[in-house]
């Protein structure tokens, strides 16, 4: 028997790590991975709540979050490839103009 709060704390720690990575990282791909980490932290709390309230809806929501994450990864990585092709860099400090 594991208290629900333990799962929520773990999920919060993972989410905080994701936010930190989003802030301190300078590589655009690593920033993208931090977003995935945040989504994973939220998924864990969904599943924990689903088990706590004896309902399966939370697990279905996790399924939808995964679908959205997959779509986001596909589009985001395509954008990264496009940015790299035009600017030849992955450092976001050098990507500071919408215009070429």
């Amino acid at each position: 028997m594991v208290p629900l709060s333990y799962y929520l704390v773990l999920s919060g720690v993972l989410f905080a790590c994701g936010v930190t990575g989003f802030l301190i990282k300078r590589n655009i791909i690593t920033i993208f991975m931090s977003i995935e980490l945040m989504l994973n932290g939220v998924n864990l709390s969904f599943v924990a709540f689903a088990a706590h309230w004896h309902t399966l809806s939370g697990q279905v929501f996790v399924f939808f979050v995964m679908v959205v994450a997959a779509a986001e990864a596909a589009v985001g990585l395509a954008i990264i490839i496009s940015v790299y092709r035009t600017r030849e860099t992955l450092n976001i400090d050098q990507v500071n103009l919408l215009k070429l």
């Binding site: 028997m1 594991v2 208290p3 629900l4 709060s5 333990y6 799962y7 929520l8 704390v9 773990l10 919060g12 720690v13 993972l14 905080a16 790590c17 994701g18 936010v19 990575g21 802030l23 301190i24 990282k25 300078r26 590589n27 791909i29 690593t30 991975m33 931090s34 995935e36 994973n40 998924n43 864990l44 599943v47 924990a48 088990a51 706590h52 004896h54 399966l56 809806s57 697990q59 279905v60 399924f63 939808f64 995964m66 679908v67 959205v68 994450a69 997959a70 779509a71 990864a73 596909a74 589009v75 990585l77 395509a78 990264i80 490839i81 496009s82 790299y84 092709r85 992955l90 450092n91």
Partner: protein
């Protein structure tokens, strides 16, 4: 300490270590591999919570498909080590204390305001009789997904379609100025 708690702590430690390693590593491929470790550990947590289907999907879709896409792009773009700039030093100065503060705040709020409720996998399966399958298996998720959540499911399929088209348009080579050689029209 029950077995559940020990397994929770082991998987949780792996997940947090992977997440911190993602922040510390400077090469993107190392970050990607530690993120895969986080996802595998989270799949273990899902199994502990009785969510078998979600655990399998986590490994197959997240740790498999999405992370392969990431690693593929890292290798395609030949991403090297991250460059440190003045901006990243400021962010490091404020980001790490911010993470600690955020984690502590969340932990404090959750631990202080949570009741005595605990999560036990598979309790309610026993209470409703042995005929019912284990919660979180495809047999129980499937009807829910295709009856109650049919509209969101269809909407996600449209979302995926749009994402595929967007990815193809964005990642394809930009058209040559002037439109390239004129196309021949066949009769």
């Amino acid at each position: 300490m029950s077995v559940h708690l020990i397994l929770f702590l082991v998987f949780g430690a792996i997940a947090v270590a992977g997440a911190v390693n993602l922040l510390v590593q400077r090469h993107p491929i190392n970050s990607a591999l530690s993120l895969i470790a986080v996802m595998a550990a989270l799949a273990g947590e899902y199994l502990l919570l009785g969510a078998e289907f979600v655990a399998a999907v986590q490994v197959i879709v997240y740790a498999g498909a999405i992370m392969v896409l990431f690693v593929f792009v890292i290798m395609l773009l030949n991403a090297g080590e991250e460059e440190r700039t003045d901006g990243s030093r400021v962010a490091l100065l404020f980001g790490l204390p911010g993470m600690l503060l955020g984690s502590l705040l969340i932990a404090w709020v959750v631990l202080k305001h949570s009741g005595t409720g605990s999560v036990a996998a598979g309790v309610w399966a026993a209470s409703t009789g042995p005929a019912r399958s284990v919660p979180g298996s495809p047999e129980t998720i499937g009807p829910l997904l295709f009856h109650e959540f049919l509209l969101p499911f269809e909407i996600t399929s449209i979302l995926i379609l749009i994402a595929i088209m967007g990815a193809v348009v964005l990642a394809s080579k930009p058209a040559v100025a002037g439109g390239g050689p004129p196309r021949k029209v066949k009769d």
